[in-house]
């Protein structure tokens, strides 16, 4: 992984199933090492031991050739923001004062945080709605790690985690969906209530506490104990398929009954993106999100979904600055952002 590369993760390529609605599928597993205190209790020396044990386990399992291990010293605040914007780390990880470690695969489909809330939190990201691929990759990595380190586990409570909300499978299965059709037709609340009713959680773009910018939402399981990994994944996949179906119906309705208004909205967004001289991060994200709807519906053909996804990541502050190789004040940043978007869209 290179800081400042113009590329984005493979999971953003919009190559997976149902990419018109589903940006990505994510499987996250939380694990702790047996016999080492959990994070709130672990001394610095114990935290370092965990980092070394995981690094060693990853090397032994051959992961060093497919990615990079980043030490705590190299996880500066700007680097942390950059990784956060790319969905590779959590806000808590960036803010943490612990001795951290991070492994990221070259294609960014796999990332592993050491000493976040648990000793180990790793995630597999896949493009579109692709739970079976993501799950088997995550469990494969789990097996490889487990052959090198000893996990904290009990047959009664499963994988033991610092917070009992994650105990059991230690798994969070989620999808990142784009639902502008349901928002425009005001049907979104119904869908969200349905998901909440069956015990799933709905969150914004960057997880817990983040707002729902650009009509992007994350749907995930809340319970981690009492159901197998496959059962949890099936329930999240099931509701995801329904959401995809509802969103497509809403888009069809808009195309049939409100086509002019819809095209107007899409082309206005496109025009601002192509012409603006100053663009804040929030404005850019909202406009690009509307553009994404236009591309998914074939209203705009000048750019594809992968191009839109790439823009969505690279307009964010830390990624923009990393790409430009400069540290910029907000005003300068908004100008350079507008220039970058213009250059990408006007060719």
């Amino acid at each position: 992984m290179k800081l400042g590369s113009n590329g984005v993760g493979r999971w953003l390529a919009a190559s997976g199933p149902d990419s018109d609605v589903v940006i990505s599928t994510r499987i996250r597993l939380a694990r702790n090492l047996a016999g080492v205190p959990f994070l709130p209790r672990a001394k610095k020396s114990e935290q370092e031991r965990v980092v070394e044990a995981v690094r060693w386990a990853l090397n032994a399992a051959g992961f060093d050739s497919q990615g990079k291990f980043i030490d705590d010293e190299l996880l500066s605040e700007s680097q942390g923001q950059y990784l956060l914007e790319r969905h590779l780390v959590s806000p808590d990880f960036v803010a943490s004062k612990a001795r951290r470690g991070l492994y990221v695969s070259v294609d960014e489909s796999l990332s592993l945080m050491v000493n976040e809330e648990d000793h180990l939190r790793f995630q597999v990201l896949a493009s579109g709605l692709a739970f079976s691929d993501a799950l088997s990759t995550a469990l494969g990595l789990d097996d490889k790690l487990e052959s090198q380190v000893q996990y904290a586990f009990s047959p009664e409570f499963g994988f033991l985690t610092a917070c009992p909300t994650n105990v059991g499978t230690g798994m969070r299965a989620s999808v990142l969906v784009h639902l502008p059709g349901l928002v425009l037709t005001r049907e979104i609340d119904k869908v969200l209530r349905g998901a909440l009713h069956i015990g799933l959680a709905v969150r914004g773009l960057y997880g817990e506490g983040s707002e729902t910018r650009g009509n992007f939402l994350q749907i995930s399981n809340q319970k981690s104990l009492g159901q197998s990994e496959a059962e949890v994944v099936e329930s999240v996949a099931d509701i995801s398929r329904q959401v995809v179906d509802y969103e497509r119906k809403a888009r069809e309705y808009l195309m049939k009954n409100l086509r002019m208004e819809l095209e107007d909205k899409v082309f206005r967004s496109f025009a601002i993106l192509k012409g603006a001289r100053i663009l804040s991060s929030d404005e850019a994200i909202n406009l690009i999100a509307t553009l994404r709807l236009g591309v998914a519906l074939g209203i705009v053909n000048e750019i594809d979904l992968a191009g839109v996804s790439r823009l969505l990541i690279l307009v964010r502050p830390a990624n923009l600055q990393a790409m430009l190789g400069e540290t910029l004040e907000t005003t300068q940043r908004d100008e350079r952002r507008a220039a970058f978007v213009r250059e990408t869209l006007v060719r």
């Binding site: 702790n32 047996a34 016999g35 080492v36 205190p37 959990f38 994070l39 709130p40 209790r41 809330e117 469990l139 789990d142 097996d143 487990e146 052959s147 380190v149 000893q150 996990y151 904290a152 586990f153 009990s154 047959p155 009664e156 409570f157 499963g158 994988f159 033991l160 610092a162 917070c163 009992p164 909300t165 105990v167 059991g168 499978t169 798994m171 069956i198 015990g199 959680a201 809340q222 319970k223 981690s224 104990l225 009492g226 159901q227 197998s228 990994e229 059962e231 329930s235």
Partner: protein
């Protein structure tokens, strides 16, 4: 009064929500005895968000919680209720009785289902079990309950023998 849906004998006083594997919820009215026998007494639909459940822990803080300590890492039950985080894997054994109702509220279940094979995981469990027995053994010797100590020593040998095979 309505009769219990399970034994069809005693009067039913406890409402129980039962979810089948398709997620369909049926409501049963059962008697207190059947509810207790089947461990259903505390079953409530888990509609509350986990963050809220964890936040309520702090409100339930009692003076005696400071006295219950994990012998492995020194975390007290009071620490856990305040911070919402356990100190080590052994805390799950030290605070098991307190954790059970909480876990049931959070997950609607108390028995892990899913991945469990693997030698690493098995060894970790054996270690936790032997630690638990050793702690109980020292307590029994301290209390001069030699009958109990002998039984625990046998149990410890059995677990260690099985693990060694």
């Amino acid at each position: 009064m309505k009769k219990c849906d399970l034994c069809h004998d005693n009067p039913a006083g406890v409402k129980v929500h039962q979810m089948d594997k398709d997620g369909k919820v049926t409501e049963l009215m059962v008697c207190a005895e059947c509810a207790r026998q089947r461990g259903l007494a505390e079953v409530k639909p888990t509609k509350t968000a986990p963050v809220e459940v964890m936040a309520e822990l702090k409100a339930g803080l009692q003076e005696k919680d400071a006295a219950l300590t994990c012998t492995r890492c020194g975390t007290t039950l009071a620490d856990f209720k305040r911070q919402g985080r356990l100190g080590c894997d052994y805390c799950y054994i030290a605070f098991r009785d307190e954790l059970l109702p909480l876990i049931r509220r959070l997950h609607g279940a108390t028995q892990h289902v899913g991945r469990s094979v693997g030698t690493g995981r098995k060894n970790a469990h054996v270690r936790l079990t032997t630690d638990r027995i050793r702690d109980a053994l020292s307590a029994a010797i301290r209390d001069e309950d030699y009958e109990k100590a002998a039984a625990l020593r046998d149990e410890l040998r059995k677990v260690e023998d099985e693990a060694g095979q």
